[in-house]
């Protein structure tokens, strides 16, 4: 084959390689071994109020999508059944146990968030959102698998407070909870 022809074909070959790589199999989501229900509670601990409250809806929507993609059905837990208990008991172990006892689901997912304002940084208001996500079997809350992480958030306006910080952290929280689900579901599938 003449060299000039090879040179002309090279870009085409490269393009074809790119196109075919798009068809390579991707790593799939870890699926639940069977359809399962999950009691979901996502709480925000305000700094200046005693009462623990719920997180912005956007985060709940994201979590519901995560669960649905893994053959899990989210069961919403009314806030009035956990807010008061979460205010009194501020440990993750207690909260997971409380939700497990208040519901009758295969799994319990508790996401606790705490947003803390740091400083004005280059024109933004920097916050740190600390998150503890716990996933446990509904009948064995003491076996919860826990994931702790902190999300840096830069908000633009002063009136954006803790709920806005948690909302801005939602994409990162979603990704971390997805990993937690995959870890736990992967272990269940292997059993």
């Amino acid at each position: 084959m003449p060299t000039s022809l090879l040179r002309r074909l090279l870009p085409l070959l490269f393009f074809a390689l790119l196109m075919t790589s798009a068809c390579l199999p991707k790593a799939g989501l870890v699926q639940a071994p069977r359809p399962m229900s999950v009691a979901v509670v996502a709480a925000l601990e305000p700094l200046d109020k005693a009462q623990v409250v719920g997180v912005p809806d956007d985060l709940l929507v994201r979590i519901d999508s995560l669960l649905a993609a893994r053959d899990l059905t989210a069961v919403a837990v009314p806030i009035d059944t956990w807010s008061s208990a979460f205010t009194k008991g501020r440990t993750s172990r207690f909260r997971v146990a409380h939700v497990a006892l208040a519901t009758d689901t295969d799994l319990v997912l508790v996401i606790e968030t705490f947003a803390r304002y740091d400083s004005q940084l280059s024109g933004r208001y920097r916050w740190s959102v600390r998150v503890t996500a716990s996933l446990a079997p509904g009948d064995r809350p003491e076996d919860a698998v826990v994931r702790d992480f902190t999300v840096p958030v830069s908000l633009i306006y002063h009136h954006e407070k803790e709920a806005a910080a948690v909302g801005a952290a939602a994409p990162i929280i979603e990704r971390q909870v997805a990993r937690l689900l995959d870890q736990v579901l992967g272990g269940m599938s292997a059993e």
């Binding site: 700094l47 009194k88 306006y157």
Partner: protein, 490 residues
């Protein structure tokens, strides 16, 4: 047994879920802007034309260590140590090559809350505060205490934010010619209801008269302003007192003061309006200290407090952020007006005697969640109150008013007005999703500028007549820049 489990866990578990910790945040802006027209990689002179493509690299590290962490839902005391290191040089991005001499510890302070008074945050150290930011300009017209080391108390609860502070701004304002500059001030922001905020505040500085302190404010008697500008104060004195130059008058001690008053209006959260910030400030600067002239091999220090004590600045800025088509197209528009006056100077162009206004508009369209298209345009008008300041042509170095050379003149150009238009467009990769101010962003941009000033960008073209003999000046009013850059808060 099972129903007792939560109660049991409550008893055996620690009282709080949060341990002592800390955090590192920061800001990073860097990129490359190859320039084939002799520029230094910035589209225009400064961010009056929008920060985009007009600012250089910047890096900030913001450190916080919680010695006693805040506990949600309690009034327990807490305390934290903060430190910020920042500077404008990064390896391969500028002539400083990332040298640490371009960096400084710009902020350091300790905060303590719920001590002595509930909900009061005490702060000792640097006290920098601002109501908000004009994001498109990277300007903060309502910033106070930037220069202050001292103590403050802040309450920021519900709909009220109140700050009171006091300290000393001498080291920031006077550097190695330190003299105490007592500073006091505060700010109050009220959120009348969700969607409407008002704020007022200010800062006052006082530099006392201290006899014998050569860095305290002084004025050398009988100095003519024009002689001082030309560096001929001692020469004039020698001409008038040919046999008594060494009796050049001693400076007279005095005191000095400066201030800044500011106001803020914020509203939004209705219709397409995300938020609108409007800022106003009026400030008077602290007088300069001294300058040095050499005559007949002897250095003379000229103290100029009363020649520089009438410098004021009025700044008005506004920025609005809109969802034009939610999820598809956003817009941010900003405007800035500045009026700087120097009551002592009526003869020479300077930064202290000018008026300018500017608008910047940015559109960002979302091709996908993470791939955005950006377009920005700006127009600015800068006017020098004391005559010609800008060179419009390649041969302007020979011309002043009316094209007539005036080597003894105080003007520095052949026009008193600079008009600048910029347009920028490009692709933005935004892994965190939609939003004009969502970061990090990775940008490929093209920028175009037209200015009536010749070579209106940082450059290495001729500046003096001897350079003109070796390097011919060029005339160009259009400037193009291509940029690959990134910006992140973290």
């Amino acid at each position: 047994m099972k129903p007792l489990l939560p109660a049991l866990l409550l008893l055996i578990a620690p009282a709080t879920a949060h341990a002592v910790g800390g955090d590192v945040g920061g800001y990073l802006r860097l990129g490359t802007r190859p320039d084939f027209q002799g520029g230094d990689g910035r589209l225009g002179y400064w961010n009056l034309y929008g920060r985009l493509l007009n600012e250089g690299p910047w890096a900030t590290l913001d450190l916080r260590l919680d010695l006693l962490e805040q506990q949600p839902g309690t009034q327990a005391p807490w305390t934290s140590v903060h430190m910020r290191v920042e500077g404008g040089s990064l390896g391969n991005a500028d002539s400083g090559s990332g040298g640490l001499d371009a960096f400084r510890i710009s902020q350091a302070y300790v905060q303590a809350g719920n001590v002595l008074l509930d909900d009061v945050i005490w702060q000792v150290g640097t006290l920098d505060f601002y109501f908000g930011d004009l994001g498109l300009y990277d300007m903060r017209p309502t910033e106070i205490f930037y220069d202050t080391m001292g103590a403050s108390a802040m309450v920021d609860r519900g709909r009220v934010q109140l700050l009171l502070g006091a300290g000393d701004s001498g080291y920031n304002l006077k550097l190695d010619e330190y003299s105490t500059v007592l500073t006091g001030g505060g700010a109050l922001r009220l959120r009348l209801f969700d969607g409407l905020e008002l704020g007022i505040g200010g800062q006052a500085n006082y530099e006392p008269k201290v006899v014998g302190n050569r860095f305290a404010p002084h004025q050398t008697p009988d100095v003519d302003y024009q002689d001082w500008l030309r560096g001929q104060v001692v020469l004039r004195y020698a001409q008038q007192h040919p046999n008594n130059v060494l009796d050049f008058p001693n400076p007279v001690p005095t005191d000095a003061s400066s201030y800044k008053a500011m106001a803020y209006l914020g509203f939004g959260g209705f219709g397409p309006v995300i938020w609108n910030n409007a800022f106003l400030s009026y400030s008077k600067e602290l007088p300069q200290g001294s300058t040095t002239e050499t005559y007949d091999g002897v250095d003379y220090t000229i103290y100029v407090a009363s020649l520089t004590d009438q410098r004021t600045a009025l700044l008005i800025g506004d920025e609005i952020q809109l969802h034009i088509v939610p999820g598809v197209l956003d817009l941010v528009a900003s405007g800035l007006y500045g009026d700087h006056r120097d009551g002592d100077n009526n003869i020479a162009p300077s930064d202290y005697d000018r008026r300018y206004w500017s608008t910047v508009t940015r559109l960002q369209a979302y091709a996908t969640q993470t791939v955005h298209l950006l377009a920005e345009t700006s127009y600015a008008n800068e006017w020098s109150r004391n005559g010609n300041r800008y060179r419009e042509h390649a041969d302007s170095i020979f011309a002043n008013t009316g094209g007539v050379p005036d080597t003894l003149g105080l003007e520095t150009g052949d026009s008193d007005t600079r008009r600048t238009w910029q347009g920028k467009a490009g692709v933005v990769l935004s892994p965190m999703g939609r939003g004009v101010f969502t970061r990090p962003s990775l940008r490929l941009l093209y920028g175009l500028q037209y200015s009536n000033q010749n070579n209106a960008f940082g450059n290495s073209f001729v500046e003096t007549l001897d350079q003109y003999s070796d390097f011919q000046s060029v005339e160009q009013h259009w400037h193009h820049v291509v940029a690959i850059e990134t910006e992140a808060w973290f």
